[in-house]
């Protein structure tokens, strides 16, 4: 692992080689997973301790809209893996196109999250026809909802910036087949974001209040 000083800079390492950067990304993802585990644990404990998790004055989370959002994030994960596959085959233009598709998917995801948060913060119509705003200080349900989805949204935002930077570098011709590891590292981060959202979506949106 690592690069010997005698290696030529243009040498293409076998695809999937465990480079120091890739290993460090895995270490980072391990630590990040602990952060998400902390948020999810707090959510579960507070929920189990609450006699009525979602107050009658607040609407339940929008499952259909978020389900569409989940599908968009899964699609962006697929385009990300195709971007890596393209650069492994030396197809730089295809990689740029797939990265652009991933970037668009991430931006759309953030946009839908923004719409969802806006509706919740300004008030949504409940079954009784009343509009009640849900702010982070409304109660434990609202606080943990915004904490979990906000923490994930922050990761998606960072990921979008990361993808944009790599896309620009690709467009400028700074990424070639020998640099496939850089795209793989980016892919690890983006797939992790998708993986965490799959868990969050299930726990926060799909498991109904009881």
């Amino acid at each position: 692992m690592g690069h010997d000083k005698d290696h030529h800079e243009d040498e293409i390492l076998p695809h999937g080689t465990l480079t120091p950067g890739k290993f460090c990304m895995w270490v980072f993802l391990g630590s990040d997973a602990m952060g998400f585990a902390a948020f999810i644990s707090a959510y579960i404990v507070l929920r189990m301790a609450s006699p009525q998790w979602i107050p009658d004055t607040l609407p339940e989370p929008p499952v259909v809209l978020t389900g569409i959002n989940t599908f968009i994030l899964i699609c962006s994960s697929v385009t990300m893996v195709f971007a890596y596959q393209s650069i492994c085959q030396g197809k730089v233009r295809a990689m740029n196109n797939w990265l652009l598709a991933t970037l668009i998917g991430g931006i759309v995801f953030l946009g839908i999250q923004y719409v969802e948060w806006s509706h919740l913060l300004h008030g949504m119509e409940t079954a009784e026809g009343q509009w009640y705003p849900m702010t982070p200080d409304t109660g434990p349900y609202a606080a943990t909802f915004y904490a979990c989805t906000g923490y994930h949204g922050l990761h998606v935002t960072v990921g979008v910036i990361y993808i944009f930077v790599m896309w620009v570098r690709g467009m400028l011709g700074h990424i070639q087949e020998k640099d496939s590891s850089e795209i793989e590292i980016l892919g690890l981060y983006w797939h992790f974001v998708d993986l965490v959202w799959i868990i969050l979506f299930t726990i926060i949106y799909l498991i109904p209040a009881f």
Partner: protein, 142 residues
């Protein structure tokens, strides 16, 4: 004093030790000096073989599992325990597909599995403390 504070301090020491071990391992794994030339990789091994059909198949499986996830609450609305278990199994199945195939975990080396294992151990140690801490704060546990 919060009764969980000494145990939290112990947990912090454990994580510092784990972090130090990881840093030491990284230091050993990074190349600092001369070593014997690495064996040349055969051209067939170095050539990348696309997995388009596989990735599309995984994508289809993820979509199908997502649809099932949306239907499960309608099917098991009256059986909360079955509902929770079903949804969690589906969620971890999807997460496993993403991890194994999109993150190429199935092809990774032992160092990556060691890193993930350390994180999993850390999470398993951390969750009981969080549950205990929040339970004490909210008066769930006396």
């Amino acid at each position: 004093m919060n009764p969980s504070m000494p145990s939290m301090a112990l947990l912090d020491l454990i994580f510092l030790g784990v972090g130090g071990a990881l840093l030491a391992m990284m230091h050993l794994l990074v190349d600092h000096g001369d070593h014997a030339p690495e064996p040349e990789v055969e051209e067939e091994e170095a050539e990348y073989h696309p997995h388009t059909a596989l990735y599309l198949g995984i994508f289809g499986a993820l979509c199908a599992l997502t649809v099932v996830e949306l239907l499960v609450p309608q099917m098991f609305a009256s059986f909360f325990g079955v509902l929770v278990i079903s949804l969690m199994v589906l969620a971890f199945a999807k997460a496993g597909l993403v991890g194994m195939f999109f993150m190429h975990l199935k092809d990774e080396e032992w160092q990556v599995y060691l890193t993930i294992s350390i994180a999993v151990v850390g999470i398993l140690l951390m969750i009981p403390y969080i549950v205990w801490d929040i339970g004490v704060i909210y008066g769930v546990y006396v």
